[in-house]
Symmetry: C3
Subunit: 416 residues, 3 copies
């Protein structure tokens, strides 16, 4: 029974913590209701005891215990008896999808209601109904989870996913599960960037985090919002507001390398938490990765976004692409050729042996020459790979070999 | 009997003043002959008493009283009798258009002559002809008209049209009439820019105005040269030298919105008074609007550029497009989001009601989000409309609503 | 018997000097073995007395006296008798081109060897062979030639060609011959730039020159590496590392003007001496001009790169294109309109007469107007010709005429 606050979020974070294991600490933050966060304030905490609609014949029509979607999100408490006409404005269904239950919320206008299939709604008999909504809206807190995996540098890679949508598989169990898996893998391997993973309620969660972490914002070099990773659509990357940030270009490279159909879409101010990270005051290099986009697929925000809607293949593919985007960003460094006047004499330095036999000698030589020629302190390895038309990994290997014989020195790139 | 100086221009400006009515003052400037204006000097004033060519049989061959085009512009006075051979270098016709009288001038080389149809020229009998040209070239003045309509700001929108071409409908009665109508309409409505309209002789007029108004030049934010607005060709916009000035982009937007065939051509240093406004020392954001371009249509600079050559439909269409270009420039402001960190909470500000029911809610919401996201002080509403792919008017309405709740503040954009 | 050092290079430079004649001094530089040059050091000097391989039957298998290619470049001295199995790693042939002798060198790994046709190699009988290689590797010097033709300015145009490849026509007798002819022609005509022509061994020669001439490097405004000018491929220009240097655009213009098929390829860090001139520390505006590129044609680095492989037509065409590229760069100046406010009155300055009758008046007028409009000190004549879509020569003639009446003043463009 997840929402933007409440016990359901806490339970979700406990599940995440269990999946992470004891070595990876998930910090759970509680931010009090009423806290001013940027232009917003943290809402009251919402919890659900029970919620049922009982028909004229005394039989239960819908019960939130059967499906969290049956209750309008943030429903106020209500106990009343009323006729069907009075009840009807509080009942939500999808006439064009008569067997699906829609997902509806009313966070900022007080309301109560039930969501049900249109087939059920249209068969309701006249008579007196009993509404029993035992919810609480209290001064409590907003809950979010945060993992920080320190790297060799304080430059940060931010990964966020929203935790507020209840009972739907693609939107957004897929994001929560994938972020959890990424945290485990990232923690287990060396990393240059410090990785920060956020499990936050949509909109108010990112606003709350941004409001409380202005000092960290300036260290974010790359970021990804994860959502909708398991459906059968092609993988889709939405660019950051900047449009040409390293993460934007790394995503384009990873998707191109994969050889599969994919989409890259420009930033627009509609969507998920990238709206907040890419607001003009922050303008962070944060893109969004997923598959089908909000509103594109009929199952979006309905009970049909279930475990049949997501596939292991899509989840695996999303995960692999994310790993690749992250790797490219993490390995992307800016080097400076320390012997930039003429070509250094490579033969006497044993570089070809350093790189070894896994690549053909001609590709290795070209990679060495490209890196030496372009590593003038103004171009990253990503720039060089793009310009040379060589695989990123080949360029990285060449750069590492050149750095090993002191022909490259790293350039400190300051600021965002 | 218009030319670059003289009584014909003054009579034209009196007609314009009458059409404007008493509320809109047309200032008539007289600049003395010999005044140094930039690299030029104001020429002597030319006036025409009468001009006739009389044939061997005593009958009048051509008389300027029948058609101002019959007399070579700036003809010196001449009284002489001569044979056809001696006369012939002073007679101008169009062999490929035997029934049309060409328009010819000789402003800077002293000469005299008559223009007539080729049919008439080729049928002239041998014999002695009498030339009677009663013109005067005297120390007088160059005359031009100027209307200034102060706006909310001192930023100026310049509209110019040339007054020197006699007796031709498209080039340039169409320009004079349209500028007059625009002045009346602009005067009757609120406007942010100060509008300045010039009725000037071609080339020497704009040079004279520029020479005398160096202090005003720096306030010109947009400008349009109007010429040839009534023929049947597609509307044509010629970009300013800058190529991407706001007026250039507003014209492209207005023409695209119109949905009709049109042409947008790059600046070149050949044409009308945009040559002077776009000379490199001034480099003003001044484009040219018209339909058929000089030299493209056979009627150009001939007696066939008459009232049949222009159509009410073309004039009306040109006028509507000009109004739209002007509106876009006048409404194009640069705003700064005052709450740029995260999205402001729109719901509690009643913005949707402020915008009202004329647009669908989704378009309104997208416009609000785009304006908030891009209004970082570096982008104008025109920039935002182009990037968002939304109608300019929707963006303006969204910006006005946001400014109404203090979510936007205007950025002062200094300089040209 | 050319190589990167030794008597063959000196003999080649004597031939060049004879072809230049006494008026054009070719300075021959000798740089001692062991001199540190950038990351390299000048190698020992290599000279060849004789080199023969004698078969089991006492007959000579190959003799360098027959073809310089028969001896592995920089072979160490060797006198030995050995069986075919022991000999074989020192014999080089081309199995897929059984009648051609390959060109092989071993400058930086000590080795000895013979190059021969594969037909000959595969027919060698077993038995004992006698190796007689009388070469010397001694502390001597590296030899290169340099011509400096002072111009009106100290801005330099660098032309280089490599002298180290023996006995091959396209690579690189064609370069040596063409550079020699260009020197004679450039010396005979006025020139704005100072022209510097280098006849240098590949790689180590340009590195040696760059190491010893750091003060001159900053004066190089344009440069061309000449190689492979005589084969039947289309002319090919390889851009400088900068990609948009004046020489890159002049080459594109010359090739486009020629109307013939051609190729323009982007810079890559593989090739000839442009690798050194375009190393990131120098980053000089030096492109490469030739026809077939290294490795593209089977005759590359073989005995089949002979006098039949190059054609007079290709050499003539390469020479004409180079002349044109050089002319465009040499005539490309940056002017500033001295009367930039409005158009200057051209009529009274007699400009049309100044330009004369070779061009039609309309093209002349347009060229004058374009130059006046764009010569704002930020654009070169090449920029103006590209923007106006007019021939470069027309723009130059217009600019010269305008400068002649003081309507243009030259802008000093500092730095590289």
């Amino acid at each position: 029974m997840r929402s933007i606050t409440g016990a359901g979020v806490r339970a979700t974070l406990r599940t995440v913590a269990r999946a992470l294991g004891p070595e990876i600490p998930l910090t759970v933050h509680e931010v009090s209701s009423g806290t001013q966060v940027l232009d917003w304030s943290v809402p009251r905490e919402w919890n659900v005891g029970s919620a049922r609609l009982i028909g004229p014949d005394g039989r239960t029509v819908v019960d939130v215990a059967d499906n969290p979607l049956h209750l309008l999100g943030y429903s106020t408490p209500m106990r009343a008896r009323m006729g069907l006409d009075e009840l009807r404005p509080h009942l939500f269904s999808m006439p064009d999808r008569p067997d699906w239950v829609p997902y509806r919320t009313s966070y900022y206008n007080e309301n109560w209601g039930f969501c049900l299939t249109d087939r059920q709604l249209t068969s309701l008999p006249d008579g007196e109904y009993e509404v029993e909504i035992d919810t609480t809206l209290t001064e409590g807190s907003l809950t979010y989870g945060e993992i920080v995996l320190p790297g060799e540098t304080t430059d940060e890679f931010l990964i966020t996913t929203h935790t507020c949508h209840p009972a739907m598989a693609n939107d957004n169990c897929s994001g929560i599960a994938t972020a959890t898996l990424l945290a485990r893998e990232l923690a287990a391997a060396p990393r240059r960037h410090t990785f920060r993973l956020l499990f936050i309620p949509g909109t108010i969660g990112s606003i709350t985090w941004l409001a409380g972490n202005r000092d960290i914002v300036g260290r974010i070099r790359h970021g990804l919002v994860l959502t909708g990773l398991g459906d059968r659509s092609d993988p889709t990357y939405k660019r950051s507001r900047r449009g040409d940030a390293a993460v934007d270009r790394a995503a384009a490279m990873a998707l191109a390398e994969s050889g599969q159909p994919h989409r890259i879409v420009d930033f627009s101010p509609y969507g998920y938490d990238e709206r907040q990270f890419c607001s003009p005051g922050f303008d962070l290099p944060v893109g969004r990765f997923g598959r089908g986009q909000h509103g594109e697929y009929p199952q979006y925000h309905t009970s049909a976004d279930d475990l049949d809607f997501v596939t292991p293949g899509s989840l695996t593919d999303s995960h692999a692409l994310l790993r690749r985007i992250i790797t490219i960003c993490d390995q992307n460094r800016t080097w400076r050729n320390t012997a930039p006047y003429g070509e250094p004499q490579l033969g006497r330095r044993g570089l070809y042996r350093a790189i070894g036999a896994t690549m053909n000698r001609q590709a290795v030589e070209m990679a060495l020459l490209w890196v030496l020629n372009l590593a003038d302190g103004s171009r990253s390895l990503l720039d060089i790979a793009e310009r040379a038309g060589l695989p990123f990994d080949t360029i990285v290997e060449a750069a590492d070999a050149l750095a090993g014989v002191d022909l490259l020195a790293e350039v400190e790139v300051g600021g965002v």
